[in-house]
Amino acid sequence: MEIQDISDDIDVKVKKYQRGESADLEALKDKKLKGQLANREDLYKKSANAAAKAEKWLMQTEGGRLESEGFEKTWRFSQQSIAQEVDVASRKNQFDIVLPDLGPYTIDYTSSGRYMVTAGCKGHLAIMDLHTMKPIKDFQVRETVRDVVFLHNELFFAAAQKKYTYIYNNAGTELHCLKEHGAVLKLQFLKNHFLLSSINKFGHLHYQDITTGQMVGNYRSGLGRSDVLQVNPYNSVVTSGHSGGTISMWKPTSAASLVKMLCHRGPVTAIAFHPNGHLMATAGMDKKLKIWDLRKYEALQTLPGHAKSLDFSQKGLLAASTGSFIQILANSSDSQNYDRYMIHTMVKGYQIQKSRFRPYEDVLGIGHSMGLSSILVPGSGEPNFDSWVANPFETLKQRREKEVRLLLDKLPPESIILDPTKIGTLRNPNKIQKATKEEKEAEKAAAIAAAKSGPQKKKTKGRSKPSKVAKKKQEGVEKAKRPFAEENKHEVVSKKKQKRITEANELPKALQPFVSRKSS
């Protein structure tokens, strides 16, 4: 029985690592290709098996959850009761830091979950090592700080301040002042692409490459001020929420939004993405919290309630906070539907600014008006960390090596597309867009203008007579016009051909060959 279970388990994992079925090789006529592909498939299978086994034996820790017995409801468990049950190391993660003066705090974690950066609205910036529970640096910038994010590691972070965005290092030294971003309301860091994206007061979206400092994209959202910006970890598409109840998804290489969705009837207040990239949660002023399937762009679930901050954990729990109240939603193992899993209430009057799950820990960090809090949410974090991806116990050397590796693996900004699995596949032939008539005309006009105003060579005596110059100019203009005329001709010809074909199609089959070219 046990063995059966294990083999089933492994089968599931093997399937996961095979990443889909192979194509039907029997249908192939090319024997050589068939042989080659069969070879590859064998290798893939082997690799998947090995990976599944490695996962089985090396990643033994499993995530747990609160489980209730009988009448009990999981959301009835308070933090105190949880604290009594857990080990000392975990209890250490329950804490409150009271910082009453510098206003609502916003927080961010590094991808390993070891370091936390917090920013008080009134200019307090601090980095903390959560293993030792010691602040690494704590300083004041004496102006409004609206958002803060870590860059690729704990050494650098960006803070959106009153006028500009600044990049600091972990010693609190200002490294860069990003003036072009304007007065940024929300920052996001795209860690695979090394892009810092921001949305400012005027709804302008900026993408800046932090390795080269180059401004990759600078686009108007055209939908007014927004302080909701979230990156989808699956495809690095950045999503902004707007006052019209719409959200729009952006990539750094196009000025038009990829997708625009009407999610709420009031302004959108928060967006969060599931780590697998298929689920999105949005909250609006219309007192609704919606969970969307991004593959179909349909709402899976609509829940009541406000939310000022939303966050998905690594294991897919959803934290929604509003006022001084936090609700954690979870989907049961058998269904997709999210329902209430835990609740937590702060002291009345505390305004929660931001709640974020800490990676690789069952912890939810909360930034609020009176400082910082951290509560335990069993089953939220990924229990097994991959030191190639993020290592909470990273040494100095490892960090350095990882930085180099990350830089080598940096992806170009154009690789951000809605469906990243499309990279390397065959392009859809009917997607090739033709320039519209206006565009063509504009192009033609530009070409002619260029030909007219182009630099005239000063030639020797007699060669630059006005008549000759004029003639040459005219020739240039004609030359510039020619390709467009040719294009037109092609079009005309193709139209004629099409007409003939359609005519031919209208006739009965037997008569089709007799349609003459000249008749049309």
Binding site: A23, S47, C121, G224, D227, G245, K260, L262, Y297, Q351
Partner: protein, 844 residues
């Protein structure tokens, strides 16, 4: 003996030919009729005789009388009518046809005809019986050979018969064997020969060559096919293998320099010498010792030292002289000398091109080509007509010029055909001259500036003075145009004057009296600026515009002035950067939360932008001035601020329904600021509740959200799939008769429109967001991302699915276990570098 026999064999044949009408036979002489009878009874008579001959029985051989053998023609020819054949005469060579012929020849005349007629009858009969055409039976009939050859000369040694020439008079084995008769071993040989005769099979003639080759090839093919098919399994295995390994177990040998060096053996003479010196016993021992011995070995003879010293002294002396010389040259002040030097230098520059390796290479190639050409054509070596003529006439007669020309040509030839020499240049003289030049250029810098300024001034003055005559006719003479032009001209003049002032000031500055006059200049300049502030940029634009009008009169000057102006701005651009102020920043300074207000402010700031930069650009020459201008601009800013505030108030009053919701954030921002100005931070726990208005606005904000969204979706759809243009007639087309009007638009136009419409509908239906009301998915193609997808399927793949599925697995080490990563990424061929691949070998 053999000789005689042979003669005998030949002689009868000759004779037979000679006497055509006679039938020579051996044996007793018989009358013809009788012989005929005998023949009919026993046709194989001849063979029998031959077989008799084979059986070797001794027979008496009658000698031929000498007269008859015609030896040496010692005897008169005798008509020998009664001649008898020798007994051993063989008739084997006579073809049967001949017999017939001879027989028939005897009774020619009527018998021949008879035969023919007989045959005709027979054929006719057969035809009648069988009903087949006569031709079918004619095949049976023997072909008649009725050719009779007459010899022109009597047969003799000098006129051999045809048979002999054809090779019929062959030597048989018997002929060769006979002389051996009676010798020991003869019987054995004879037996062998007999045996061979008995068993002998006729030998086929060899096949024709192409056929033979074909057969050979076929056999070769079969053989090699068999041979090669042994490899089949091996080749198949290699073909199917994902990776082929070559020569895995070869030891490449040394891998380090040290290892290679340790294996070094001296081979050449020089190497051996060096080796013997380095590894000399004395030396190695000396090294082992305390060093005293080494010192001994170091001893140098006195002569050597002296020689060395002398050499060094000489070199030093030369160097010193050279230095002196160069110093002297440096002090020369003659202008002509310098000019000549410059010329030389320019020449040297040409040689310097050669220092550039590419150019040098090119030059060398060219030279080589020329040399080759010259060597080929010898164009300059007195080969021309002219040169030849002169040569013919003699050199002494020519005048000096011609002689010189000739000699020059010859020299050219020598120059061209000479092997290319290495280039040498005088580096020392170059150096000195360069230094001089540097000094001059340093001085020049200022001078050129001055000159530039003066030129600019002159030009502007010209513009000012230029009172261009007003056009008397045409569009430009219209009163409003004239007025406009006048205005423009005024503005241009203003501008020019400004520029002039600036030129003056900078000129003065350059001349040194910068204290007082410069200030005055500034003052005057500033005055104008203050008054003109708003007009300045406009006027500049106008200057640009006027360009067009002046075009027909004198465009060059105008262009120059404008260029000057442009130049000026270009030069001073760097200052602009310093004070270049973003509209964003300006906005922040004023700290206004409303977007609508920003718009208005935006406009203002846009206007102000160029003004500020202009001020700053003009002040670039002096830092003092710059500061002042900065102050100015600050003042301007503050003014603007005030203005903005006013306008803001006005806007607030006028626009009550601002669509954009103000967030609580902003309030706190400003709060925070006010608090932090003092540096004392008071607690900020008290939150302002949103006002009632705000709440109501929020509540009703989403009223028409859906409609808005639908509209925007429609817009985007129209943009991405534009609606087809409505068909329109070209104005005036077909309207002069009213037929077209009555008919309406031509049907093809309507059809086209219809088709375009249909296509658009289809496209819209095909959109991914066609059935999703609340979603707009952009269909715009991202050109940059296009490179991430393939346009065509790569070669072996025929369909999309197989290709895409084959790519689904990542191959990196991050995604695969270490045990399989090697196999996944192994190359197709694994071989050691530097090891040649040997041909395939069959393993059994």
């Amino acid at each position: 003996m053999a000789e005689t026999k042979r003669n005998k064999a030949i002689a009868p044949a000759k004779r037979r030919k000679g006497g055509k009408e006679k039938n020579w036979k051996k044996g007793p002489h018989l009358p013809n009729a009788l012989k005929k009878e005998l023949d009919s009874i026993n046709p194989t008579n001849d063979q029998q005789i031959r077989s008799d001959d084979d059986i070797d029985v001794y027979e008496y051989e009658e000698k031929i009388p000498d007269e008859e053998s015609k030896k040496n023609r010692r005897y008169d020819p005798v008509d020998n009518f009664e001649y008898q054949l020798p007994k051993d005469f063989e008739d084997e060579d006579v073809p049967s046809d001949d017999d017939d012929e001879e027989e028939e020849g005897a009774q020619k005349g009527d018998s021949d005809e008879d035969d023919d007629s007989d045959d005709g009858k027979h054929v006719r009969m057969l035809q009648d019986i069988t009903g087949l055409p006569g031709d079918a039976f004619e095949g049976k009939k023997k072909k008649k050979n009725d050719v009779v050859i007459f010899e022109a000369y009597p047969e003799s040694e000098y006129n051999p018969s045809r048979d002999v020439l054809d090779g019929d008079g062959r030597i048989t084995v018997d002929d060769l064997l006979n002389p051996l008769h009676g010798k020991p071993g003869f019987s054995k040989i004879r037996k062998d020969v007999q045996r061979m005769d008995r068993k002998s099979v006729s030998i086929q003639p060899p096949l024709p060559k192409p056929q033979q080759e074909k057969v050979d090839r076929r056999s070769t093919f079969v053989y090699s096919k068999k041979k090669l098919s042994e490899y089949e399994a091996l080749v198949k295995k290699n073909r199917e293998a994902p990776t082929i390994y070559f020569d895995e177990d070869i030891d490449v040998g040394y891998s380090t320099v040290g290892a290679i060096a340790s294996e070094f053996r001296p081979r050449t003479e020089f190497e051996k010498k060096m080796d013997s010196l380095i590894n000399a016993k004395e030396l190695s021992e000396a090294h082992k010792g305390d060093g005293a011995r080494l010192l001994e070995l170091n001893k140098i003879s006195v002569e050597d030292v002296k020689e060395r010293q002398d050499r060094l002294a000489k070199m030093r002396n030369l160097l010193f002289r050279h230095e002196l010389k160069s110093k002297r040259i440096k002090h020369i002040k003659s202008k002509t000398y310098r000019r000549l030097l410059k010329k030389d230098k320019s020449k040297a520059a040409a040689t310097e091109i050669e220092m550039n390796p590419e150019a040098a290479k090119e030059l060398a190639e060219k030279q080589e080509f020329k040399r080759a050409e010259e060597r080929l054509t010898l164009k300059h070596k007195n080969t021309s007509k002219w040169a030849k003529r002169i040569k013919k006439r003699g050199f002494d007669v020519q005048d000096d010029g011609t002689r010189a020309a000739i000699s020059e040509q010859l020299q050219q030839h020598a120059l061209l055909t000479r092997k290319r020499d290495s280039m040498h240049d005088d580096s020392s003289s170059d150096d000195s001259s360069e230094e001089d030049d540097d000094d001059i250029s340093g001085d020049e810098d200022d001078a050129s500036k001055l000159k530039l300024l003066e030129i600019g001034k002159k030009r502007t003055l010209e513009v000012l003075d230029e009172d261009d005559e007003m056009p008397k006719s045409g569009v430009l003479s219209l009163p409003f145009m004239v007025r406009g032009q006048k205005k423009k001209k005024e503005a241009a003049d203003e501008e020019a004057r400004l520029a002039l002032q600036e030129f003056d000031s900078s000129l003065k500055q350059l001349e040194g009296d910068d204290d007082v006059k410069g200030n005055v200049g500034f003052l005057s300049g500033r005055k104008v600026f203050g008054a003109q502030k708003k007009q300045v940029p406009k006027s500049k634009a106008k200057v640009n515009n006027t360009d067009n009008y002046f075009d027909n009169t004198d465009s060059e000057d105008d262009a120059d002035t404008i260029e000057d102006v442009d130049d000026k701005h270009g030069r001073m651009n760097y200052t602009q950067k310093d004070v270049n102020i973003d509209p964003n920043i300006l906005r922040d300074e004023s700290e206004i939360g409303h977007d609508s207000l920003f718009k208005s402010f935006d406009d203002i700031s846009k206007d102000s932008g160029p003004k500020i930069t202009y001020e700053v650009s003009l002040s670039a020459t002096n830092s003092k001035k710059k500061k002042r201008n900065m102050k100015d601009s600050n003042q301007a800013k503050s003014e603007k601020k005030a203005k903005n505030k006013k306008s803001q108030v006005a806007e607030l009053a006028s626009e009550k329904d601002t669509a954009i919701i103000e967030h609580g954030d902003d309030d706190s921002d400003t709060d925070g600021e006010t608090r932090m100005v003092d540096g004392i931070i008071t607690s900020g726990t008290d939150y302002e509740l949103p006002s009632q208005d705000d709440l109501i606005r929020r509540a009703f904000a989403g009223d028409d959200v859906e409609e808005d969204f639908e509209m925007s979706k429609q817009e985007i759809m129209n943009e991405e799939n534009p609606e087809p243009e409505k068909p329109v007639l070209v104005p005036g087309w077909g309207q002069w008769t009213h037929i077209q009007k009555k008919r309406g638009l031509p049907s093809w136009m309507l059809a086209e429109h219809e088709r375009a419409k249909k296509k658009r509908d289809e496209d819209l239906k095909r959109r991914p967001d066609a059935h999703l009301k609340h979603v707009i998915i952009s269909e715009k193609v991202d050109k940059k991302a296009e490179k991430l997808q393939t346009k065509t399927l790569p070669y072996p793949f025929k369909d999309k699915e197989h290709f895409e599925r084959s790519n689904r697995m990542p191959l990196g080490p991050e995604f695969n276990p270490a045990t399989t990563i090697g196999a996944l990424n192994r190359p197709e061929v694994v071989k050691k570098p530097g090891v040649s691949i040997k041909p395939i070998k069959l393993k059994k």
